[in-house]
């Protein structure tokens, strides 16, 4: 299954939900915000969002900036 993560297409082997994807990417939940098809998904709902072909995921965090 192909999904888009931060603008790049990625092939994921099995059916995942958002929580599983974040775990697989070894990202720290406290530091990130996740948008699924332009909707901001709170952490507590990650496990309820299953991913589908061509879904668009944005994962952002804070960096230095003026």
């Amino acid at each position: 299954m192909k999904i888009k993560i931060n603008g790049k297409h990625e092939e994921i082997g099995k059916k995942l939900n958002l929580a599983e994807l974040i775990l697989e990417k070894r990202l720290c939940a406290e530091h990130i915000v996740v948008e699924h098809n332009l909707r901001i998904v709170p952490e507590k709902e990650w496990a309820e969002v299953s991913l589908h072909e061509l879904d668009n995921i944005e994962i952002v965090s804070f960096v230095g900036g003026g």
Binding site: V60, S61, V63, G65
Partner: protein
């Protein structure tokens, strides 16, 4: 009575705001924020690198600091609004510096898109700080739209050229009822001091401090200059025009005719 800048219920005593970009490390940035006793720090939001673990910059920002999220990277109002909502969802609070830049050559802000984003975000309850070119009519519209302050540029971002927009910033200070915070381009502590002498409420400095050979020392120097300029503004700056002696000219060794 202590001189504080009140923004959205917060009392800010240090009027030097510091941007956190371009520091050689988060540790150096942290030391600069601590040493200068900054109370407001800006951060930006970016896509994570999903291939490597990253440190969280917020862990390096002293608890005393109010975090202001910068929408840098936004090219229009919609993107700025999207970034602001993401930042809020990340639990960083609701202070948003709206920075909308389409122009990659001069990095000048798009005042119209910035105004549109200000209108939307202020309605949603954000505390909005629009970064803008110093234009009085647009600044008035920002105020009407609910901006907490306006942030006119001193000179283009990252140039360290100082307050090249002095005449225009002065007009904003005189005419607006909300704080004017000069942002971008300030290179020397004396630049910041001039802004404060003019009556600006605060300044935001990033590049000059971050790229200084000694960011910690330079941040402290800026902090002192901001304090000096503010004290001068409060005391009142005498502006004589004709030469006038500061010592008596009569009664010394000769008879006056």
């Amino acid at each position: 009575m202590q001189d504080t800048l009140k923004i959205s219920g917060k009392d800010i005593t240090n009027r030097l705001f510091i941007g956190t970009g371009k520091f050689s490390s988060y540790e150096v940035m942290k030391r600069a924020l601590e040493a200068s006793k900054a109370e407001v720090a800006t951060v930006a939001l970016r896509r994570v690198d999903t291939t490597s673990m990253q440190e969280n910059i917020l862990d390096y920002i002293p608890k005393r600091c109010n975090v202001m999220i910068n929408t840098s990277g936004a090219r229009n109002a919609e993107e700025a609004v999207r970034i602001a909502r993401l930042a809020k969802a990340a639990g960083s609070g609701n202070w948003i510096k709206i920075e909308v830049v389409k122009d990659n050559k001069y990095l000048l802000p798009d005042n119209i898109e910035t105004l549109r984003a200000t209108e939307v975000l202020a309605k949603e309850g954000f505390v909005v700080f629009p970064y803008m070119s110093p234009d009085l009519s647009i600044a008035r519209r920002m105020l009407e739209a609910g901006a907490a302050a306006v942030m006119p540029l001193g000179s283009p971002i990252g140039t360290n050229r100082g307050l090249r927009t002095k005449e225009l910033v002065e007009i904003l200070v005189k005419e607006l009822s909300i704080p004017v915070i000069v942002d971008a381009g300030l290179g020397r502590p004396s630049d910041a001091c001039v802004c404060m002498e003019l009556g600006c409420a605060a300044v935001l400095v990033n590049t000059a401090i971050a790229v200084s050979p000694d960011p910690v020392g330079y941040a402290v120097a800026f902090s002192k200059a901001v304090e000096a300029g503010r004290s001068a503004y409060i005391a009142g700056i005498p502006c004589g025009k004709d030469p006038e002696p500061s010592s008596p000219l009569t009664g010394f060794l000769r008879n006056e005719k």
